[in-house]
């Protein structure tokens, strides 16, 4: 990388340590972004997500037909008029795939955010305090990990009834134990470092050490976990919709569309199923490419 050849900056004056650390941090962040944007897999991931976000925001303004109320002849194969064909009710599949990102792009990030927030809090507490609290919570986390998320989510959604809000909470809270385990192990290696001992000797409270000393240092793994969880949230929400307990009709959600049309594949009507399925695949792959790039850049 070519840097402008400037005279090396003078050592920061001792009287203003905060400003120097802030600019150092900002510089580190800029450097991180620059490295990220040179990775092709990161760029591809961001581009695909941007396309779907644009489709979600612009929606009906850019779709060729009305995705909800324009009815043509049912199950016509892809043609010039309908690039992706029409579904069983005669709605344009392309238009529905374009607006189909809307629900999942709201529900999945919220679920991931909730899971990471709760899980990070639990992980910080478990890793820092150790002892009895850690033992008990670790057992509970272990019990949650013994169950496939899809299955527990299915059970809970049957009991509580399906709505987007319930899906966010169920998926988010089921992700929390997994996040807690990751954050806990990151905290375990941090708490033995000198800066934590120094803060303890200064007489700082546990809450201060956790939030101001340890948390910034485990932010890297937490951000990676957030992107990874975002990918899994799309995976999970799409699967739940496919199983009929996630997003509900008349949502044009991809998983739901697949579930309504998959039985027609046997009869050779593949287009209303394949295109939403490919849309799901492109989104999760894109998110995972972003997560993977973040992980390898932060580990370097």
């Amino acid at each position: 990388m070519v840097e402008s050849i400037a005279p090396s900056p003078l050592p920061a004056p001792v009287t203003t340590p905060t400003t120097s650390t802030i600019s150092e941090r900002a510089q580190a962040r800029r450097e991180l972004l620059r490295v990220l944007f040179r990775r092709p897999s990161f760029l591809i991931g961001v581009a695909v997500i941007l396309v779907w976000v644009l489709c979600a925001i612009l929606g009906e303004r850019i779709t060729p037909y009305d995705p909800f109320n324009a009815f043509f002849k049912g199950h016509t194969p892809p043609s010039i008029d309908h690039l992706f064909g029409t579904d069983r009710l005669g709605r344009d599949v392309l238009s529905r795939v374009m607006v189909g990102s809307r629900d999942v792009l709201i529900v999945a990030p919220l679920a991931a955010l909730l899971g990471v927030a709760v899980g990070t809090f639990l992980g910080l507490v478990m890793g820092y305090y150790r002892g009895f609290v850690d033992d008990v919570l670790s057992r509970v986390v272990e019990a949650f990990l013994a169950l496939p998320v899809i299955l527990v989510a299915l059970l809970t959604l049957v009991v509580l009834g399906s709505s987007s809000v319930v899906v966010v909470f169920v998926v988010g809270l089921l992700f929390a134990p997994i996040v807690a385990r990751t954050v806990r192990s990151a905290v375990l290696s941090e708490r033995q470092l000198d800066y934590v001992t120094a803060a303890k000797l200064r007489g700082e409270s546990g809450l201060f050490i956790l939030s101001r000393e340890i948390f910034p240092n485990v932010l890297g793994p937490t951000v990676v976990e957030l992107t990874v969880r975002f990918g899994y949230a799309i995976f999970t929400v799409a699967t739940l919709s496919f199983l009929g307990v996630g997003l509900q009709p008349p949502s044009p959600d991809w998983g739901l569309s697949v579930s309504q049309e998959y039985a027609n594949m046997v009869a050779g009507i593949w287009w209303p199923t394949l295109f939403p399925a490919l849309a799901i695949a492109s989104t999760v792959i894109a998110v995972n490419l972003i997560a993977d790039s973040l992980q390898s850049v932060l580990n370097e």
Partner: protein, 317 residues
Amino acid sequence: MARFIARRLLLALVTLWLLATIVFIITDVLPNDVGRTILGPFAPQETVDALNQRLGTNRPILVRYVDSLRGLVTLDFGDSFVSSKPVLPQIIGAVGRSAKLAGLALLITIPISIAAGLFAARRRDRVADRAIVLLGVTLSSIPEFVTATILVVVVGVGLRWLPVLATAPDSADPLTQIRYLLMPALAMAIVYFGYIARMTRAGTIEVLQSDYTRTALMKGLTIGQTMRRHVLRNALVPTVAVIAVQVGYLFGGIIAVEKIFNYNGMGSTMLFAAQHKDLPMLTAGVIVIGIVYMLATLIADLIMAWMNPRIRLEAER
């Protein structure tokens, strides 16, 4: 070794108790009226009360909790709301059919993934390695039902190589049955390829950098001999752990795959129970799958302790 096993069994029992408690909280504490949950908002109050009376869900919460734990110990999960028959025999039959499917998926995915992982580790950071890692990330991030859909469209409808449904005619010979199971098994195998291959790669790379590998190579062993005698045994420890975890998660993904291929296993049973709000069936299913997961991790722990005595000794201390 006996102490190690005893310790692991005790921990598994504690986990099982916690798991039963979690399931109890979801099914009995979250809904404030179980009868209303089952019958929906429009049922008359008398019907709801009668159902709560019949199910015993109007009793105090502690009584119900003790009762559910007793059910777990005596393996009596109650009767199905739909068929009024005990749920356990139905669950066990369904688990057996799903195990066939899951077993075939693992049989396909484990050797291929381990081979790919070893291959990638030997060619670290070269094109083949990058390709395998990227492929793994990509494939494991796609939901099973999406992979299954794409497979059906391409292999089943387009090329007509394999049957689109999973259940063979009753009279079919074992080979034909496997042919019918091949596509659903493949859909799951593809998803788990990434996890296992990546773990094998990471474990192998770590061991290849170790001092004892260098010693083995310097005393004149070929790379093949070193791999067989020194590397594999240690490198595959994390792989065994991840496979055990996948066995549990397989039963999450299998629900969607069984739906696509119309296969009558655990997934279909759970889905049918979910549609009819058959809580005893769902509860029993979740707990049985939890037990399957715990057995898998227990076996994995034993294999790992056998592969690497340090794990065993550390646990005994």
